[in-house]
Symmetry: C2
Subunit: 139 residues, 2 copies
């Protein structure tokens, strides 16, 4: 589990820009015959895990084209790196993702420090895209 840290008070700009968490609600997980799809269950569990947190905007999406690695989500915010994560357990992944969204929101650039990333976040990276205003070559 990631450790949630309060946003750094010296970076109020990073807190003001809301984090968006897109969740693919059409993802199915192999062998899961549930009537409600895994992606939808993950989304619904995130509603509970995030509560009324105004810093994270949860948005269901019909496909993130990460169909080889369900369940899939994306974390994004203006001016930050966008991340796509896959291979996520359905509703069981909600607490880790809620933590990750808050950690992401506390960064200035979207790069969550490696040691704070929970295992599903470390292992589930599908892709990342720089912000349009890329500050040089960020490795």
């Amino acid at each position: 589990m990631a450790i949630f840290q309060e946003p750094d008070p010296v970076r109020p700009d990073a807190v003001e820009a809301a984090t968006t968490l897109f969740v693919c609600v059409t993802c199915r997980v192999e062998g899961d015959a549930s009537e409600i799809r895994a992606g939808r269950r993950l989304h619904d569990a995130l509603v509970g895990a995030l509560g009324a947190d105004p810093a994270v905007r949860l948005v269901p999406v019909e496909c993130l084209s990460a169909c080889r690695r369900p369940c899939a989500v994306s974390l994004t915010a203006p001016g930050k790196w966008t991340y796509v994560y896959g291979d996520l357990a359905a509703e069981a992944a909600a607490p880790v993702l809620a933590d990750a969204a808050r950690l992401y929101g506390a960064t200035a650039d979207g790069l969550i420090p490696w040691k704070l990333r929970a295992d599903p976040i470390k292992k589930g990276a599908v892709a990342r895209v720089p912000p349009l205003a890329l500050p040089g070559q960020t490795p």
Copy 2:
């Protein structure tokens, strides 16, 4: 090969917003022992394939976290869906990607019509992320 179409003149807004094509220059392709990495060769070939086209901004990046599916690139523009493509041949993929970047630039939302997508674009989708201002549930 995709068919290049001139941008629709009734949509000047779609043309004004420059397309950004991020290219991972650290991607290696399995079995390729060349001194210059495959991703760098793809980037360099794109410099030639795009020529001086002012509508496409080519940006080298050190990692798109799509390391399972090299070579990898991303197409993005303000207000459009962002796409990440992988499994691309090195320099051989440059003409198809240059076409795709121009087709992407001619769309209002980043969704290139399926019939205009070349095979490497159809098969290489790694992920896509909606624009922040998502107009409802776009499938």
